[in-house]
Structures are given as structure tokens and as C-alpha cells.
């Protein structure tokens, strides 16, 4: 007979402590610094004040509070614009200095993982051109897209370990008058949200204590160079990344578990654009339906471009097959902004989403008809030419 109770008790009593000295690989901080000492590149330091967090093997990671250079995401800006707008809105509400650059290209990794029409040298050169642009501006890069974040970490590994690649990229950048500059940390925006979650909670004006949420951690956040993802002993006992979950808990939300937590969303990079039957099937059958059956959440929160896209947009067609769908999906930045009182359409721009947000919004006390009428009124002023653009000030009226 299996001694279930004894095993359970043992697991309960066990205290898991991370020891960076037992990490299976070298600390990238040391390697990046050594290459700076060797004159191979410069290192852009995380500006002070920064917040320290713990990563997978118990190492410390510095998250800048402000003076941040926002490396935007193609899919967020193109198709889910309230995602990045919410990141900027939170910065403004917290009175933090940031830069939204036009001297930035895509990391081009979505295309690379979809079509392979590139190579290691080009991908590294694109990354280092963007990093050099950030350094020139005096602001520290913060990466909005999970795939950019993961890919830049991959790129950092490759540049650290290959002198040939490093020198090739250095020569390409030299052609355009740029230096080889590696940031001290590669930071994802959701790590910044995680780091400032208590400041966000201090400014929370919407009660979320009646909300049940499921979360989906992005594969390219915690699987691609996974050592550099945030873990915390108090979240899942330190056995899964703490990203998103810790933020939601700080906002008073009941985060529910489900059995396919580790599964990807079905994005597939190539599939979401030209083979969406796979993306839809996976998102619905392995994620949405499992969440609904096991956790019955009010909302699904995730933290990457592709995940919001796939999990949100895949549910419409599934309705035709009577699948168990109808779960609103948004990013942690949108939810955090909403908790702080951001307008659901002027800031969160929820009309770009597919799933029906109204039941969730109404559950937290938002008059959705009134909010939409306010947005329509603002749009009417743009149509008539009375105003050229919606401004940040308009959002806070």
C-alpha cells in the first residue's frame, strides 16, 4: 500500500531553498562582465534605483524602476494596441520616466521562428542594433514581447560563447557607427510589473477580490533560457515561475490552477498566420476548455503577444462547434491598469479583442455601456476633426 499521507506530510514539511552555487550553468552576469573587461563590448548598467528579484536558480536579477527604453512588440502594437498602451499608462500614473523610441525595429524573431528566413548573425545584429540605440538614448531597454525577450536571451548566450559571431556582429554595427553594447540584464515588461506590483496595488481603485483568474505563462518567457525567469519561494513553492501570479495575488485576485499550465498556447509562429487550424485546436482543447472545466475562471491573464492573440482570437470559431469557450483574455499590463482605474476602451482598447469582456468588466463594477459611449464620443471628435489624436489627458478625463 502506498503511504499517501506520509508522503504528503513529508512534502508539506520540506523547505525548498535555492542555491545559486548549485546552478547547472555559469552565471551570465559574470560572463557578460568578463567580456567587458576583455574589451569585447561595453555593458549598459541597470539604472538606479532598481528592484532585485530572484530567478530560477536563486540568482539575483535587477529590474529598473524607470529610465526605461520601451522595446515595443509587433503583435501588441499592431493588433492588441491596448497592451502596450497600458504599460505606458502605468508608467505615467506612477510618475516614472520612460522613452517610447522610434529608433527601434522588431527583434524579427516571430518571423525567424516562423520562416527561418534569417540566420544567427542577422538576428544578433538586429538585437545589438536595438541595444546600441537604447544605450545612445540614455534609457535602459525593457522588452515588451516575450519572444523578443527569449530570443534576446538566446542571442546573448550565442554572443557570449562565440567570438566569431561577436566579431561579425561588431563589424556589421561598425558600418552604421554603432558600438557593441550588451545590457546588464535583459528585462521583460512583465518582470517590471511584477517588481512594482505593490506600487500598483497601492493605487488600486477597483476591487478584484471576487475575481477568479487563470494564468498562462509564456513559453518564450520561462522555457527559452529559462534560468532567467523570475521564481519566488512564496509562489507555487518556488516550483514554477512566479510571473503574473504574484501580480494577480497582489491585486487580491484568486488565482486558480489547472492541469495544462505548462502547455503552450498554440501560437506556433508560422501556424497562427498560415495554419491556424492547429493554433485554434490547441488553444481551445488544451487551454481554454481545460481552464473552464477545472477552474471556471472569470478571466485569463497572460503576458505575451502571441499568447494573448492565440488564446483570445481562437475562441470565436470554436463557438460554431459548441465548444466550451467564452473566456475573456487580456495581458497583465491591461489588468493592472484596469485595477488602477484605466479606461477599458481609451487605455485598454478592449474593442481590439475578440472575446466578450463585458461580463468580467460588469462583475468588477464597470458600466460598460457608459465606457463605450465615452470612447465613441472621443472617436467622434477625431472623425469631425475637432481633435487630431486621443491624448493621455483625454484618457484621464
Amino acid at each position: 500500500m502506498i503511504p499517501h499521507q506520509a508522503i504528503m506530510n513529508k512534502a508539506k514539511d520540506r523547505k525548498f531553498e535555492r542555491n545559486p552555487d548549485l546552478a547547472p550553468n555559469a552565471d551570465y552576469h559574470d560572463l557578460v562582465d568578463q567580456l567587458e573587461k576583455d574589451g569585447e563590448w561595453e555593458v549598459q548598467r541597470v539604472p538606479e534605483p532598481y528592484i532585485e528579484v530572484q530567478t530560477k536558480f536563486g540568482r539575483k536579477k535587477k529590474i529598473p524602476l524607470q529610465t526605461t527604453w520601451h522595446h515595443k512588440s509587433c503583435g501588441q502594437c499592431g493588433h492588441i494596441p491596448g497592451y502596450s498602451t497600458s504599460v505606458f499608462w502605468i508608467n505615467r500614473q506612477l510618475g516614472l520616466d520612460y522613452h517610447d523610441p522610434t529608433d527601434q525595429t522588431s527583434c524579427t524573431a516571430w518571423n525567424y521562428y516562423a520562416s527561418a528566413t534569417s540566420n544567427a548573425a542577422a538576428q544578433s545584429a538586429v538585437a545589438m542594433r536595438n541595444f546600441a540605440a537604447a544605450d545612445e538614448s540614455g534609457y535602459f531597454p525593457i522588452i515588451h514581447c516575450g519572444t523578443s525577450f527569449g530570443h534576446y536571451k538566446e542571442t546573448r548566450q550565442q554572443l557570449i560563447h562565440s567570438e566569431k559571431l561577436r566579431h561579425q556582429v561588431r563589424d556589421v554595427l561598425k558600418m552604421m557607427g554603432k558600438k557593441l553594447v550588451m545590457p546588464e540584464e535583459v528585462v521583460h515588461y512583465s518582470e517590471w510589473i511584477h517588481a512594482v506590483r505593490d506600487k500598483i496595488a497601492e493605487r488600486q481603485v477597483i476591487d478584484m477580490s471576487k475575481i477568479r483568474a487563470t494564468i498562462h505563462p509564456a513559453c518564450h518567457y520561462h522555457k527559452l533560457v529559462g534560468e532567467d525567469a523570475i521564481f519566488a519561494p512564496e509562489i507555487y513553492g518556488g516550483q514554477r515561475t512566479a510571473i503574473i501570479t504574484a501580480t494577480l495575488i497582489a491585486l487580491g485576485i484568486d488565482v486558480k490552477d489547472y492541469s495544462t499550465w505548462f502547455d503552450c498556447c498554440g501560437f506556433g509562429f508560422r501556424h497562427i498566420l498560415v495554419s491556424r487550424d492547429f493554433s485554434r485546436s490547441f488553444a481551445v482543447q488544451r487551454k481554454i476548455e481545460v481552464m473552464k472545466e477545472e477552474a471556471d475562471p472569470d478571466i485569463l491573464i497572460t503576458h505575451d503577444t502571441g499568447c494573448v492573440t492565440t488564446l483570445d482570437q481562437s475562441q470565436f470559431a470554436a463557438k460554431a462547434h459548441d465548444r466550451n469557450v467564452g473566456l475573456p483574455v487580456m495581458s497583465d499590463s491591461q489588468l493592472a491598469a484596469l485595477a488602477m482605474g484605466a479606461h477599458p476602451y481609451k487605455v485598454l482598447q478592449l474593442h481590439w479583442h475578440s472575446t466578450d469582456m463585458k461580463p468580467f468588466l460588469q462583475k468588477i463594477g464597470i458600466d460598460t455601456d457608459k465606457a463605450w459611449a465615452e470612447f465613441e464620443e472621443a472617436v467622434a471628435k477625431l472623425r469631425s476633426g475637432e481633435k487630431q489624436y486621443l491624448t493621455w489627458e483625454d484618457c484621464d478625463e
Partner: protein
């Protein structure tokens, strides 16, 4: 119908040609990091989303490369690698392999050599490559058309119909664009074109889609010339 692993479908391709492609994968600077060997345990398959919906196995692909089974490698290179989701769930490999990374290398080699299977896999994808390489951002707001995304719901039609004004209704000034995800400086674009030129990416495009290459060549050469660069992609 499942994947034909017999290799009969490629029996007319000379063994040396297949072997050379495998060697090219192995020569990539990332190969040593992605492939240490394979326990054949299948943990990668258990974590793999593509394995649930396709006849696809990262374990078999890793095995074919680890064992240097040239014929089997060639089958996967043509008939399997494009099913991968590139999520890197397989990075939980106990041997520290990255089957997903290995597949990236295999795809790159397939594109570089213009394999018919790669061309077929990328059919319909050319507009995305064009967008990223020419504008510096990948999915632009104006791609949201009801006929392109009929399965996403009626809001796509609403977005398309209101696109100009809804982009103006975005507070960040950089997002008022419709043809690119955000406003990218001309100088920044020129630098991106120089990267494509210096790293041989345009040569890869030429192999896999000559029509797309010619369109990109026109756009880039003109802008580079205007910026004072004497660069050609021939």
C-alpha cells in the same frame, strides 16, 4: 496518413546531397549547444504541442541527428520540421538538448538551399516576410482584414472599417501608424537593410522565393541609394 519514415519518397536524392545538408546543420555554431546526444526518453514529445496534433516527434528528429541517420534526417528536414511550434517546451530535455533549436537550424538549411518543401511550407507567408524586412515591424494594423482572419470574429471587420480613426484613438504617438506596428525612423530602417545585406539574409530569400526577393530588392536598393549607400543585393 502518417509520416513515411522509410525514405522511399526521397530515394532519387543522392545520399551525398542529404549528407551535406546534415553536415551543414552540424557545422552551425549553435549545434553544440542544441544537441548533446539523446536518451530517447520522450520527455520532449510529452511536452510538445505539435506532437498532439501532427505525426510529429522531436525525439525522432533528435535521434536521427544524434545517430547521423542521413536518410531519416532528410525525411524530417522535408516532411516534419515545419510542423514544429517553436515554443521550446522541449527544452526541458534531461540531456540539455534543444530539439526546437535543432529544428530551427534544420529549417534554416532547408531555406538556404531552397528545398521545395520549404518553399511549399512558406507559401502564403511571403507577405509577412515582406512586411518585416521592409518596414522593420511584422504584423501591421492594416493586415487585420476580415477576409484574412474570418475565424477571429466580427471585430476584425470593425477594426478594418475604423482603422484610421481607431489608430488615432491611441494615446502613444508612436502607434498612429497603419502600415507598420509603430513609427520606425528612416535611418533605423536603413540600418536594418544594411544588416540584411551584410549577413546574407537576402541570399536566403532569393533561394526560397525569387519573386519576393525582387520586390524587396527594389524597395531596399532605392532607399539605400537615397541614403547615400552604394549597396546592391545581386
Amino acid at each position: 496518413m502518417g509520416l513515411d519514415l522509410s525514405g522511399k519518397q526521397y530515394r532519387k536524392v543522392p545520399y551525398e546531397e542529404k549528407e551535406a545538408l546534415l553536415e551543414e546543420v552540424k557545422e552551425d555554431l549553435r549545434f553544440g549547444d542544441y544537441m548533446y546526444g539523446c536518451y530517447d526518453c520522450g520527455i520532449c514529445v510529452a511536452a510538445c504541442p505539435s506532437a498532439r496534433f501532427y505525426d510529429f516527434s522531436p525525439r525522432k528528429i533528435a535521434q536521427s541527428v544524434a545517430r547521423e541517420d542521413v536518410d531519416l534526417f532528410y525525411v524530417f528536414l522535408n516532411d516534419s520540421v515545419w510542423d514544429c511550434s517553436q515554443c521550446f517546451s522541449c527544452d526541458r530535455c534531461p540531456r540539455q538538448n534543444s530539439p526546437g533549436g535543432l529544428i530551427t537550424l534544420m529549417r534554416e538549411v532547408a531555406v538556404k538551399h531552397g528545398l521545395a518543401s520549404a518553399q511549399e511550407a512558406l507559401e502564403g507567408y511571403g507577405r509577412v516576410v515582406y512586411k518585416i524586412m521592409s518596414t522593420g515591424t511584422q504584423v501591421s494594423p492594416d493586415m487585420l482584414q476580415a477576409n484574412a482572419f474570418p475565424d477571429w470574429g466580427p471585430h476584425v471587420k470593425d477594426i478594418a472599417e475604423n482603422l484610421d480613426v481607431w489608430r488615432k484613438a491611441l494615446p502613444p504617438e508612436t502607434l498612429h501608424t497603419t502600415e507598420a506596428s509603430w513609427k520606425v525612423d528612416e535611418k533605423t530602417l536603413i540600418e536594418l537593410y544594411l544588416i540584411w545585406h551584410a549577413t546574407g539574409v537576402m541570399d536566403m530569400i532569393k533561394e526560397v522565393d525569387e519573386g519576393l526577393f525582387m520586390i524587396l530588392q527594389d524597395v531596399m536598393e532605392e532607399r539605400l541609394e537615397d541614403a547615400g549607400y552604394d549597396v546592391t543585393f545581386d
